[in-house]
Subunit: 416 residues, 2 copies
């Protein structure tokens, strides 16, 4: 059974044994992301995640890589708007090494000046890759259209200029302010035992300290409007969003289920109308994203420019039509898909620790599968309709990347 503990310094520890496995997934999450950056720091949360791997007081950059890969393990990390996560995947016997390294890179990063100079350039290359990926850009610009200059509207990677402006001192400052043990979660699943993992947690994470003030996260006003990046590519990417709800909101599951009925699977409205019935696009879907104090409810399609006006019109019409009436079969299918995606997620230790950390940050408690299933079961069509109707009142944010006549899209979403 999964268990939750809190170390004296506030670090929460989740242990989730899966006795049939021979490998373990171990992760540390901190409640620090791009939304916590102040002016002059844009991109620092992500740059800090990179610099964690660039040497500690005890280990060089190369030694970190060689030690973990010497036992066939691997390390990874990811930075989002609100969180940074560091992961190790190891065989059962190497869990202690994984805990040691994750602790070391978070507690004792070296932030060497020369290493930083090179790593800033690596991140600049990563920014270039993202800029060449239209479906990354279209969502970056969508959040900008939704929330403008608010931190949730800013790109996680920052800009080449903002990244090149960071120093060892700015990294130390951000870390001292935002990496706090009471906002840190250590989670392990797979070939792990509760007692042994708790011992590792105490040994390696029990001495984390930090008096940082943290960051106050404020709800962003939803601005809406159009962003259009006119680049000449084969396909045009369109993403639209209305105000959704925060991830902890009682309506989050109902909003997510509405999005699934609208565009969550092959049998969904958007897939059937846009792809199967008209052949307009290969990729089309709807989504509901939740953050601490905001959310998005929207849809995405990627098609030749000449199909975009028609696709936009269908998306808007189906958003309204789905909000107005859903069949019992559609809702039952949506619930079945949500349930089975939960079951599938439970089979992977990496998914389990990610989900556990997400629940602790969102609800302050773990939510077991039965409770999630009960929440899904309890959703009514009226709940979904209320959520959709509230969102569709607007405002609306629209992002387009690629060649496109924007007037029909603006008309479809009442922007003009």
């Amino acid at each position: 059974m999964v268990s939750l503990h809190t170390l004296p310094n506030g670090v929460r520890v989740v242990v989730d044994p899966m006795p049939e496995l021979k490998t373990a997934a171990l992760g540390v999450w901190v409640s620090a992301g791009s939304v916590d950056e102040r002016q002059g720091e844009y991109g620092i949360a992500h740059l800090l995640e990179h610099m964690a791997f660039k040497g500690t007081e005890r280990r060089s950059t190369l030694a970190i890589a060689e030690e973990i890969e010497g036992v066939g393990g691997y390390l990874n990390a990811a930075t989002s708007h609100q969180r940074t996560g560091y992961y190790a995947r190891v065989l059962k016997d190497d869990l202690a090494l994984g805990a040691d390294i994750l602790s070391d890179i978070l507690a004792h990063p070296r932030f060497d000046e020369d290493e930083l100079a090179r790593e800033r350039e690596v991140v600049v290359q990563e920014i270039g890759e993202a800029a060449d990926t239209p479906d990354d850009v279209v969502f970056e610009k969508l959040t900008e259209a939704a929330w403008g200059a608010h931190p949730l509207g800013r790109a996680i990677l920052g800009t080449p200029e903002s990244v090149r402006a960071q120093t060892p001192s700015s990294l130390r400052g951000f870390m001292a302010r935002c990496y706090r043990p009471q906002e840190m979660i250590l989670a392990a699943a797979g070939a792990v035992e509760e007692d042994a993992l708790l011992k590792l947690a105490e040994d390696w994470f029990g001495s984390f300290s930090g008096e940082g003030e943290g960051a106050e996260r404020r709800a962003p006003p939803f601005l809406g409007g159009l962003r259009h990046d006119k680049r000449k590519i084969e396909q045009t990417h369109l993403a639209v969003a209305f105000p959704g709800v925060a991830s902890a909101h009682a309506d989050f599951f109902a909003t997510r289920l509405y999005a699934d009925v609208l565009g969550g699977g092959m049998s969904s409205r958007l897939f059937q109308k846009i792809r199967e019935e008209r052949g307009l696009a290969y990729s089309v879907y709807a989504f509901a994203d939740g953050f601490d104090n905001a959310g998005l409810l929207g849809a995405y399609v990627n098609a030749e420019a000449k199909h975009i006006a028609e696709a936009a019109t269908i998306i808007r019409a189906e958003m309204e039509a789905t909000a107005a009436a859903m069949t019992a079969e559609e809702v039952a299918r949506g619930k079945a898909l949500l349930r089975s995606s939960l079951m599938l997620g439970l089979e992977s230790p990496a998914n389990r620790i990610e989900a556990a950390a997400g629940q602790l940050f969102t609800y302050g408690a773990l939510m077991d599968a039965d409770e999630i299933l009960a929440r899904i079961d309890a959703i009514t069509v009226a709940d979904m309709q209320r959520c959709a109707a509230r969102a569709l009142e607007g405002p609306c944010a629209v992002s387009i990347v690629g060649p496109c006549k924007t007037a029909p899209v603006e008309a479809a979403f009442n922007l003009s």
Copy 2:
């Protein structure tokens, strides 16, 4: 324990129970891919995979989607140069439905004229998406540089023109020729029981027939040379390859291990020299790909144009240096990473059926984990050096997408 059976019609059946799971992965693979296409058929293997979902004698397009998603399951499919695979992920009790649907879409596809007209356009949109994805294009052009007009050198998706030229009759012709029960594999893993699955296999796949002549696959001569797509993007993508070995070749594992030491992880030569020591790129790695009668050994990097010449020089130098001398530690790390990636793969039912089908196509038999581990253990540095030296004799294929002065790259790989 995993078991292998052969139905009277030649369909092979793999059953791989994982008693702790509540879901199952079920897949059907046929030894039919883009290499089996004749002139006038380019893209048909992949288009056929799409059309399998567009209605059968018993089910409409919508009914296929609604039935599987009604139980929270999902369907997917993929076409490669040599194979086409169709998958279902379902909860334990829905395995029979998954087998029914996979059988139905393969045995009784409708190939309706109107559905085909629309689906051709969906595939044209998919071709557009691939054309906008530089790291797809760079590998398409790499195989073209390696193998020219040979089927292995051609893009799997075909071209808009070649796809629009396909008809219900051409689809039926390709299917009759290449979808043969003796080249078909049904594999299930997860919440499955041997007897029950065998019964489903007999019921749903026992009557597959086919007298198709199949296709003779010939080894392609490795041509080599440069392809340069000069599009204006932020980053330039460089992929290079030398002749590797076929997937069934005794040297395949040694070639793969050489590629891992060269550029397989954070501690690898290319990652350290190009990313960690010089900050030239975010993405860099080496690879060994195996096909029925050919292979590639190469490397990829993605960086600003001004870094490409230096990256190319380092890649060539490290290919030679690694072939000349490797440390015992490097080889041990490479073996540890190969072993643990095998162990991790065993934890996912979807990975297990994919691997089982691959082994049957490659070796004509299943290879258990212990045998793979023994093969990895047995690799010597001399094996790896022999494989690398043979590959580096050339010729060399180079593919570049993005702005680039090609002369220094051609010089690095002796193309000029």
